[in-house]
Amino acid sequence: MAFEPSTGAAGARMGMLAGRAFEGVASVLRFVVVVAGTFLGLLAITFFIGRVVPIDPVLSVVGDRATQEVYEAARQAMGLDRPLIVQFFAYVGDVLTGDLGMSISTGRPVVDDLARVFPATLEMATIGIIIGVVLGVPMGVVAATHQGSWIDQVIRVLGLLGYSVPAFWLGLVGLAVFYAGLGWVAGPGRVDIFYDGLLDPVTGLYLIDSVIAGEWDIFWNALDHLMLPASILGFFSLAYIARMTRSFMLDQLGQEYVTTARVKGVSERRVIWRHAFYPIRIQLITVIGLSYAALLEGSVMIETVFSWPGIGNYLTTALLTADMNAVLGATLVIGAVFIMINKISDVLYRILDPRARR
């Protein structure tokens, strides 16, 4: 913005506001373009995987036991005689109008299937991230304020384990110990088998649906089933969130304003939570957003172990039956949610942190 002498404070203020508004519009536009470009990229990748990589895309959609007529019909319907670029735009059009094709294993449109299974994953990942944040943030703060103490060491070890333990293995061990061994939690699945199908799907989230229906038995049963898989997911986000919180806090505690506050005689609790923690909560939003997105991805493995009827289980079942439409649909949805969460946390960071605005 060029600096021009203005007639008065009011004029200067108006000019600044106009400049801000312009910058705001420009950054919104830039955001939209970046997000649209990334989505187009995601579509290009799924298109490439579905149509270019397989030697015979028709076979991968109809399966190898299809008759000649079915095969020909599918080939016609998929428009494989047209040039690739035309096929790609047709594909983009289909996806934008909510058409992801039919699943060969369930015989229903992939979109309907995904809408049915997504809430299960969302419920598990949300409880997981809540566990991760509620435990991870305080642990990180304590580790930073008591550097070198046992809790600092515990967090170091947890952080390393978070990088090196396979989620599916931890799920199996968890089932063996806490379900079979100790009997503390319920086993695989979302609810016990005799509660199955009793709830009207309003939101698809059993914890909320059961409260709406006033079925407290089902609520507690669903929570019982949810605890173990969500805790395992929570462990992975806890490991990451605690480590990042620790390093952000160490950054702040080394700053001079913290020393100043201490010299003034501000109580230690206030120094930590009010002075040092206050600025890092914005950085934490990005970290939490990233790990929430990672949990949606991580749930693929956990769901397989816990027979959790979510999007991960749907994806892996489709993988094994080579149900390509379902595989690509699930990939697309997980990818889109992943991208959206990342971009939203990016935008929130920019809005909340004045330093990142320009």
Binding site: I45, I49, S164, A167, V173, T304, V327, I339
Partner: protein
């Protein structure tokens, strides 16, 4: 010998390189965790090379009379549902794990390096296009992308390697680009260019070697993630196929016995954790030695 290595004015390129390697090595030895990591990785390599000598039994030889035996003196990690010795299978599994991580590194790192160096060196629209593609790949969930690729390519160890490599390269492109930009306009690059060196020569001979150390650090740190992804693909039945003793696939087979014969599924898991931790330790140590700036930021 050590004097020759630490000579401040080396007389040959070999001496300079050897001296540098020696300094890195001694600095690494001062970090106990890095030594532990290096030892674990060394054990993995030794197990992979000498598997037939180390493993007491055949990894695929069935012995139905001794199926699902708990860990004992004869079978250190017990036996699986076909009576195969789990310890021997874990030892042979080291070969598959090492093969996968090496191949992924050999495929993904050079691709990423070249993309990043070209992008950073030329700048302009080349940079914008290449980094646009890189960012799109970076913003995808890695595991899901690998799963979808394997689904299209078909299950198997080669396809698993390709799929993981496709998801692994963008990080190296980012690193190489950042490094290239810092010395793109420096005098030694201008000097080489004025001597008439082509862009290819400048990138291959003068830019890429300078990106090597940060890439090595990053590759080592990424190994744990690659091992976990490979094991995940194996667990889902999309990686190495039976009867290959791949650790993830072994856990998957042990799933049915987890409640009564816990050792079938847990033992290969310990192997995965140990090796991943080893690479993490080694990577952390290497970063402190080769790339101190990055270490401070963490």
């Amino acid at each position: 010998m050590i004097d020759w290595l630490l000579d401040d004015s080396p007389t040959s390129r070999l001496q300079a390189n050897m001296g540098r390697a020696w300094r890195v090595w001694t600095a690494l030895l001062r970090n106990p965790l890095a030594v532990v990591g290096a030892l674990i990785v060394l054990v993995l390599v030794v197990m992979a090379i000498f598997a037939p000598l180390i493993a007491p039994y055949s990894p695929i030889g069935q012995d139905l009379a001794n199926r699902l035996m708990p860990p004992s003196a004869e079978h250190w990690m017990g036996t699986d549902e076909l009576g195969r010795d789990i310890y021997s299978r874990v030892v042979y599994g080291a070969r598959i794990t090492l093969l996968i991580v090496t191949m992924v590194a050999v495929i993904a790192a050079p691709i990423g390096l070249v993309v990043g160096a070209v992008s950073g060196y030329f700048g302009g629209w080349v940079d914008r296009v290449l980094m646009g593609v890189t960012d799109i790949f970076l913003s995808m969930p890695k595991l899901i992308l690998a799963l979808a690729f394997v689904a299209a390519l078909g299950p198997g160890i080669e396809n698993a390697i390709i799929a993981i490599a496709i998801t692994a390269w963008p990080v190296y492109a980012r690193i190489a680009r950042a490094e290239t930009i810092t010395f793109r306009d420096s005098e030694f690059i201008s000097a080489v260019r004025l001597q008439g060196a082509s862009a290819t020569r400048v990138i291959l001979r003068h830019v890429l070697p300078l990106c090597a150390s940060s890439t090595i650090v990053r590759v080592t740190l990424d190994m744990a993630g690659i091992i976990l992804t490979a094991a995940g693909l194996g667990f889902l039945g999309l990686g190495a196929q039976p009867p290959l003793p791949e650790w993830g696939a072994m856990i998957s087979r042990g799933r049915n016995f987890i409640l009564d014969q816990w050792w079938v599924a847990t033992m290969p898991g310990f192997a995965i954790i140990l090796v991943s931790l080893g690479f993490c330790f080694l990577g952390d140590g290497l970063r402190d030695v080769l790339d101190p700036k990055q270490g401070e930021k963490q």
